[in-house]
């Protein structure tokens, strides 16, 4: 099968569903049409820009440029994790708490994929490395920011309980253990749900895209399985590393709870 090439008209027709939805919003005074329109326009602009940029990067196929793009993606994801937190650290922890785990998890799992299942792809070949790292990074970023936000919010709420445990002689890992487990689950719920529902409740996006582009459904399923395993692995590594780092960051070497290191977002 050959992929169906999409014209501008095709995309405008697809936008018709959004126009109908916006019309309903106006009719029923739901007041969502404005947000929908802005989000849709933003999405179109972002994806077209990314498409153009990737086409350029793929064309020049320079390892240095590829590395630069990968680094920029990681920096942007790090900032995104930081900006999603209700409570934030100062100093190196401001970005390190999110940046370190997502970099470790993403680089490790992307490297694993490129040396095993996708070993035929050349290292720093932009066509393989950028989309692969991008999808893994996005997933790790979501899980990590959810877990960190849940953990720091819970620590604020459960201060008295944590300090009671510390007072009774628990170390910081025991005193924050329950909160850490709960935050880890919080961060991993999306990826677990995604795996549990894959194929039964919904056809995953990548598989759908590949089938629409003409790939054999079984081959598309294999790609989807590979990606889901990589996403789950990377997400779990990222969340575990982030919550571990959070325990260390929110306490000091004498296992004191240091909420004075946090400031609430305005």
């Amino acid at each position: 099968m050959t992929p169906i090439n999409l014209s501008v008209i095709d995309l405008l027709l697809a936008a018709l569903s959004l126009v109908i939805a916006s019309g309903l919003s106006i009719l029923l005074t739901l007041n969502i049409h404005r947000s929908l329109a802005i989000a849709a326009l933003r999405m179109v602009a972002q994806l077209l820009l990314v498409g153009l940029m990737l086409r350029y990067v793929f064309t020049i196929s320079s390892p240095a440029v590829t590395l630069l793009v990968l680094a920029a993606m990681i920096v942007a994801a790090t900032y995104e994790v930081y900006s999603r937190q209700q409570f934030r650290f100062g100093g190196w922890k401001r970005f390190g708490l999110g940046g370190l785990p997502i970099t470790i998890a993403t680089v490790f799992v992307t490297g694993l994929a490129l040396t095993t299942a996708l070993r035929e792809a050349a290292w720093l070949d932009p066509q393989h490395t950028i989309p692969l790292l991008g999808i893994i990074l996005g997933n790790v970023m979501n899980g990590t920011s959810l877990a960190l936000n849940a953990m720091l919010t819970s620590v604020q709420r459960e201060k008295r309980a944590i300090e009671a445990r510390l007072s009774l002689g628990d170390d910081r890992y025991l005193a924050l253990g329950g909160i850490r487990v709960s935050a880890t689950h919080n961060g991993l719920i999306p990826v677990i749900n995604q795996m549990a529902g894959a194929g039964i409740i919904v056809l995953p996006g990548i598989m759908t895209g590949q089938i629409l582009a003409g790939m054999d459904p079984l081959d598309a399923a294999r790609y989807q399985i590979l990606l889901m395993l990589l996403l789950a692995g990377a997400g779990t590594i990222g969340v575990i590393a982030a919550t571990q780092l959070c325990v260390v960051a929110i306490t000091d070497e004498r296992h004191r709870l240091r909420l004075d290191r946090l400031t609430a977002r305005n």
């Binding site: 300090e163 445990r165 170390d171 004191r256």
Partner: protein, 219 residues
Amino acid sequence: MLHVVDRKVAYSPVDIAAAESLVVENLSRGNDHPAFSLTVVAGSCVAISGPSGSGKSTLLRLIADLDPGTGTARVGDLKRETIPANQWRRLVTYVAADSGWWTSPVSAHMSDPDAAQHLLAELGMSETLMKATPENISSGERQRLALVRALVQRPRFLLLDEPTSALDPESTLKVEKLLMRVKREGTGLLVVSHDPAQIARIADRRYMLSHAGLAEVTP
């Protein structure tokens, strides 16, 4: 020598003799804050009173190493900084006025449920409280259970922040009776209290804390 067994710390007779006093020297939150020095002899009760905001709770928290600061604290020759913080806190245990709870039921917080049952009986409390959810019991019951939770770990020194602030007079006397018993058995007590009558009943030495610092009060 400390022997750590699970969450308990067992002491040999030699240790108890060596751990005769809790000595606090120039303990402070930092350079711009007042420094505190005091000694609590094992088997004695020292009371601290003072206006709200004068730093009574802070002092207890500094001794328990729950807040960063300057100065030293030691039990006998055992300096706070020479042992892990969690071991220090088992030795010198702080109990807040409104202590936190992290699971359910109450018994899950007790390192020695049998000992806890005995202490509950001593305080005239029902043993069914051990099966209760902490959120569903009164603040007075939680306050006494927090004391029991600390006592079953047999700390050498107890730092009690207003231990009877949520109690009626009868329950207060029972708590004081229990504290006097553990004091006779060798536990050192450092108690923050706003009640002069209570201080008169339980304290061997009294201090007044104000913004000027800590001053011993002679009866």
